[in-house]
Symmetry: C2
Subunit: 258 residues, 2 copies
DNA sequence: GCAAAAGTGTTAAAGTTACACCCATGA
DNA sequence: TCATGGGTGTAACTTTAACACTTTTGC
């Protein structure tokens, strides 16, 4: 959605294609430089950072809508995506929004009863992606994008800070029940990498020896013959997930602690 | 909503008061006769069993809507209620519904574009209630209600069987993180009662000695001086929850297994 | 006294935690 | 050779799992 005509059509006629009152807000997690990051967009006019949200087509299954929105933004076809909450309590979600601000910001005419400005609840999804494979597209409404360390997320638009917090809390809760390592790391990774990833997500230290001992003992990862050169230090071995064992273990939630 | 005028107004003008495209489906759990039960309504016209759902008012916070709907149905003011999923994938949720069937069943005129017959997604909530305190109200659309053993729930309307299954799965997952015993049992209960409750929810046997040992050792429940007479058998002692210890433990998810 | 349900302790096994030194690498 | 990060094993402790007999009650 880039040309003015497309945008105008979306604003004026979007309600024929999309459900009103309901949007999808995806929290996209990636991992890079030993930091857990989320992808935010800078919204034009609103002049603030927010989630790369979108709307549900009238005849489109909900989960398909979530995948489509993610695909349109990141180019990723098949990603781990999970619904975690629906937000409908925040004061921002109870009010209708001002159309005059919109006119001033974008120079587009809108009626006061335009569908985009009615009360909107939002379904929160979180996505786990391989940071290196994402290529972000911006559009008419978004002038910039940036990966933010979850520890340093700026205040977000509307109630979206709450959405991000809840996504993080859910990620922590589900870390032993979802294929989190599997989706956030590249295919081959080192022990220090996965160790730091888990420490970062949980926000606490995990004993290095116990952590790797357990992952290997459970057969969730296997050591490869290759090593990675990391400069003037000992070269760490590369590991790979044992996909079947990993997914079996997650089903049973076998992996309790490290 | 009992008189024909009220119903007619709801059908024709409901969209001014309620959000279209979105409903709330509560799965109400109770415990009685050593069975985990859910409350179902028999819908008139549709001639089948379904959840006691309702709609969200246009300016009403989502969680407040869920409480209101429950309160209207069960008379309960303060109940444990938790959102667990939003359903928007089922074929039933993608189609608009037939207005002609409605005309035939209820003898009320509706336009084809009536708000009640548009695609509707649904927010699933589960409630844990003290079975003995519920007094159900039926209305124009519902001719009967019944508590059903979760093991013998009949096929439900639309995709609601899926909603109930997901509620049960969530209940099992959260059994060590939510005050489940606290909300499903009366204030005073016996060890065999809480033991059977947990076995029923989890669908598996729990060692009797280990179970009670752990609850008591953690200080979650305390033995009272009273006993309950249960006929020609040894009288079991009554127990009570230690509310603070119980809620602290749940926060940390301390209670792993029994 | 008999049938039915409640109550009670110990032991082996498994899992978790704590902890420190040597190794490999490139500059 | 030095600075930096990687790799490895053992022992104490905690938690869990398995298991059977005696007591109480009302008829």
């Amino acid at each position: 959605m880039n040309s003015l005509e497309e945008v105008d059509d979306f604003v004026k006629n979007g309600h024929r294609h999309y459900l009103p009152h309901l949007s999808i807000d995806p929290v996209i997690f990636g991992y890079h430089d030993q930091q857990l990051k989320i992808l935010l967009l800078k919204w034009k006019g609103l002049n603030g950072w927010g989630l790369p949200g979108g709307f549900i087509q009238r005849r489109e299954p909900l989960s398909q809508a979530a995948h489509r929105i993610l695909q349109e933004r990141t180019g990723l076809e098949s990603i781990f995506l999970q619904q975690f909450h629906i937000f409908g309590d925040s004061p921002y979600r109870l009010q209708e929004r001002s159309t005059s601000e919109f006119r001033a910001n974008y120079g587009l005419e809108v009626n006061d009863d335009n569908w985009l400005f009615e009360r909107t609840l939002s379904v929160g999804y979180f996505a786990l992606v391989d940071y290196s494979k994402v290529s972000v597209r911006t559009d008419f409404f978004t002038e910039d994008y940036q990966w933010w360390d979850v520890k340093q997320v700026p205040p977000l638009l509307f109630d979206q800070s709450e959405v991000v917090e809840k996504a993080l809390a859910t990620l922590r809760l589900q870390i032993y029940h979802q294929p989190i390592g599997y989706n956030l790391l590249p295919e081959k990774f080192t022990l220090p990498e996965i160790h730091t990833l888990y420490e970062t997500i949980l926000g606490k230290e995990l004993d290095q020896r116990n952590f790797s001992k357990k992952l290997v003992a459970l057969g969730l990862i296997k050591k490869l013959a290759e090593q990675r050169a990391i400069g003037p230090h000992r070269s760490p071995y590369l590991y790979q997930f044992e996909k079947e064992a990993y997914e079996d273990a997650l089903k049973q939630g076998i992996v309790h602690t490290y």
